[in-house]
Symmetry: none
Subunit: 538 residues, 2 copies
């Protein structure tokens, strides 16, 4: 049996059913391009019968000249009607897509309850619709909705549905676990059974993650004979999502030896996952398998000293295979080997026995004791390590700020910040408003600096987190603020700690700007090397 | 073979290895109590040999009188030493825990590379350490690190390790997929093999999610004979996390018929998952299987009309079984019965069809839509319900505040609040300093009111939490503040939401004082019933 697996991406169709996921036609085109670069075989773009956005997508995607087959999605014809007169089927034919996914019922309960028609009419709907699109010259993928629930309830009928679809000429029979409630051993048994009955069509699998088993179920189906896997990037999709292709693909390819993507393209997986999450405007979970930022991150001291000897001790694959990388998290649980290897990662040689190394390690320990946490604040850690090596040239110095928040009953709150900096020997005094006090400070800082450093205009804050450290002290407790910043090329994170939420935020904010300016050219009216009055040291 | 499965929770130990997860001793005690209410069988609390926080946990957890067995974690003795003289093993014995998890090597490669000792010495380390703790009267759970990788590399040695542990008297032999790289079919084969060789000890499974297969691997092991499952709430843990007990438990219990929790406790799963995520201050993914907010959410259209006919059409289980609920994203149907039963709890009869009931329900829905959450803010909910019944007599009204935060380089930050209230017809203008802006407001409010309401002197804030709601908007995002207040008799919680952290804190603060004054006598110079200008309505 062939080991070639067709990867069918439905991020643009089933993925957009996920809560909080919404893609414009432009977004869809960008993602389609990226998926094609990755080398997936099928890209399901949407439902041409449903809205103008999808019709636009199918028109414009043809101009991109992609390698992947573009797929249009729709249902079998309406009950008691004629396929050739079905508007949705006509739209699929007219979409310009090379292939069509047709979804039909295979669970007798659904035929009665949802379609409210007879089992016989449902078979005709399936046959007619597939035959119509095949006559139109399309490749047809039949998605048998609720196939596993259907098989468990009425195996004869579920098999009859598949045989009817095969008879109508479907190229692919895809078994859908629509409700996501089926277990891997059931998938294995049922796919094996179907495999023994079908001769012409190929089999595919489409799973959902309601039992946290979508990936396992996809593997199970492939091991039992399925040769197409439908899923989405990052597992986006309705309820708990679809099978996550970012896990399915490396599992099949690296662990089980199937051919999914060109092997030299697999290392674009991490990059693709990030890109799609950016376009969809959804945060990627740090702990996402294979492609998450923490997927190859090591925290414990013993683990770190072992991976420094041999990374296979605590890594199931080499992270580079999927385009990810090893990260060493610095935390109180770990020791000096973490800091040294972090420096190495930054291209700085730090002799563990040197004064610099001992200095920065004891500084980090002291800060961690005060409540700082560097595992989520790589840029703050990098600043500390580079400072220890005398590598940081301060581009400006802080003099003072005032923040004023005013609220009068029945009126909106007003937040203002007044900020004094010294940039290149010149005193800069700025004021700005904001949605809140931290936003006002952010605005003032950007305003003050971007006249000297135009590149800062491309930088923006992407994430802001507040954690109260010792909650028992309530409003007098210390807070830790984490800020994530971005520009076109990079993402970096900084931390600040104080009993005062404004001061903690300011500290993280200031360091995020300092980090952004690490490689900046010195501004013109430079008169002297400036000293940075870090808030960390007050 | 018995269908009873021991649920071993390691949220407090392995869970804290996850990036961004950090728990104080207090947090750990709260979570232990909650896990015990859920009915897990083992609660692994930490590493008594590693730090004072964990030693404190083991001391204080004994005072809670939990049903679950408390477990202390540690490694086998150091190489070339004596178990009885091993400080970490002594600390485990002294911890007061009933059971110990001992982790040992079963992969020959790790014995050479990480431990840097002989295969023979590793066997002795395992034997000695287990025997030492058994002699000390503890139940011993042997966690065989990298068992599956070890078995694949050198099956004889991996088996020798397990036999040695059994011989030393280990009650449980737990097979760990430490790197998370093993597939379900491999788990099945290897567990079956071990099961055939072991007679006295029982088998357990401990998996990691690096291939997005931790849940599937746990099921596979149980189906092959394992009778203990180790995992964490919400799957927290190193890299991609541990097996998620919130998915493992319902899969085993509802789908495969194993006995895990008392069946009447399974519906606390959703609530437990939320609680742990709140204490850990980590957002729960909406699409988390079984317990996520979107796990049973249905977007408009065909799915909704089908589930209104019969929810089995698109739901693999009844959501109530795990304490979750169906959500229809277009038309909000839930909530009303909750509010009515909450009112009942407060001794207020609320006729669901009355204008008051409809009013308060639509108000709560509107506030929830804005980001309020009343699950952790009972006092705010009570104020809303009592307001709807016209039961709240406002003791003071808010006029205005100004908050000023000033920072000059090299000097400590200064926070001041200026507050104007009207109490009993008299304008009260106060100023106060604080550690931070919210503390200054808290001090000003207490100062202004306690001259009229001396009972407020006994009240203090016990807990303060900040949650950024839409992190992508960074410093312009909405924040939700939760404040817990206390006096000698009572504990209550309030919520505030705003784009401005000061305003959100103020709102929660103000309501916590309003709640404290619900039963207070009207102050002496009362002239007229006062109106409260709630910040909620601005």
């Amino acid at each position: 049996m062939s080991t070639a697996i067709s990867i069918f991406d439905t991020t643009l169709r089933d993925g957009t059913q996920g809560e909080g996921i919404s893609l414009s036609a432009d977004d869809k085109l960008k993602i389609a391009k990226k998926l094609d670069d990755l080398g997936v075989h099928y890209i399901e773009g949407g439902i041409p019968g449903s809205n103008s956005k999808d019709i636009e997508f199918f028109k414009r995607v043809q101009e991109l000249g992609l390698q992947a087959k573009i797929v249009a999605f729709g249902s079998t014809r309406r009950k008691d009607s004629i396929a050739a007169q079905d508007v949705n089927l006509q739209r699929i034919l007219e979409s310009g897509a090379q292939a069509a996914t047709l979804v039909g019922k295979s669970w007798d309960f659904h035929v009665h309850t949802a379609l409210q028609t007879t089992l016989e009419e449902n078979l005709s709907m399936i046959y007619d619709s597939i035959a119509f699109l095949k006559q139109g010259g399309m490749e047809v993928i039949f998605d048998a909705e609720h196939f596993f629930d259907g098989y468990k309830n009425n195996p004869e009928y579920a098999m009859a549905v598949m045989k009817k679809a095969e008879e109508a000429g479907a190229d692919w029979l895809v078994m859908c676990d629509t409700n996501g409630g089926t277990l891997p051993h059931e998938i294995r048994e049922i796919v094996t059974m179907l495999q023994s009955q079908i001769t012409r069509s190929q089999l595919g699998i489409h799973t959902h993650n309601d039992c946290e088993l979508a990936v396992a179920n996809s593997l199970s189906a492939v091991q039992a004979g399925a040769r197409q896997v439908q899923g989405t990037i990052n597992g986006y999709g309705e309820r708990c999502g679809n099978a996550n292709l970012c896990s399915v693909i490396p599992n099949l390819q690296l662990k089980l030896g199937y051919d999914c993507l060109d092997i030299e393209k697999l290392n674009q997986l991490h990059n693709t996952a990030r890109f799609v999450s950016e376009v969809a405007n959804v945060n990627m979970p740090v702990n996402q398998p294979y492609v998450g930022n923490a997927a190859f991150a090591h925290k414990g001291g013993i683990h770190v000293s072992a991976i420094l000897r041999d990374s296979r001790t605590y890594e199931h694959i080499a992270p580079e295979l999927v385009g990810n990388k090893q990260r060493v998290l610095v935390s109180e649980l770990a020791g000096q080997s973490n800091v040294v290897s972090k420096a190495q990662e930054l291209g700085i040689t730090l002799d563990p026995s040197s004064d610099e190394a001992r200095g920065v390690i004891s500084r980090i320990k002291e800060l961690e004791h005060q409540g700082y946490q560097f595992e989520g604040a790589d840029a703050s850690l990098e600043l500390l390590i580079r400072e220890a090596g005398g590598e940081v040239k301060e581009m400006f110095s802080f003099e003072s700020f005032k923040v004023l928040v005013e609220k009068t009953a029945g009126r909106p709150v007003v937040s203002e910040a007044f900020l004094k900096l010294n940039v290149a020997g010149t005193s800069v005094y700025t004021a700005a408003e904001g949605n809140g006090p931290v936003n006002a400070l952010d605005n003032a800082l950007r305003k003050a600096l971007s006249q000297y450093f135009p590149a800062l205009r491309d930088m923006h804050l992407a994430d802001y987190k507040v954690r109260v450290l010792d909650e028992k002290d309530a409003t007098a407790a210390k807070v830790r603020v984490l800020i994530e910043s971005k520009n076109y090329e990079d993402v970096w994170s900084n931390v600040g700690v104080s009993e005062n939420v404004i001061e903690a935020s300011w500290e993280a904010l200031l360091d995020s700007f300092r980090y952004a300016l690490l490689e900046a050219p010195t501004p013109k009216n430079d008169q002297a090397e400036l000293t940075h009055h870090g808030l960390v040291n007050h």
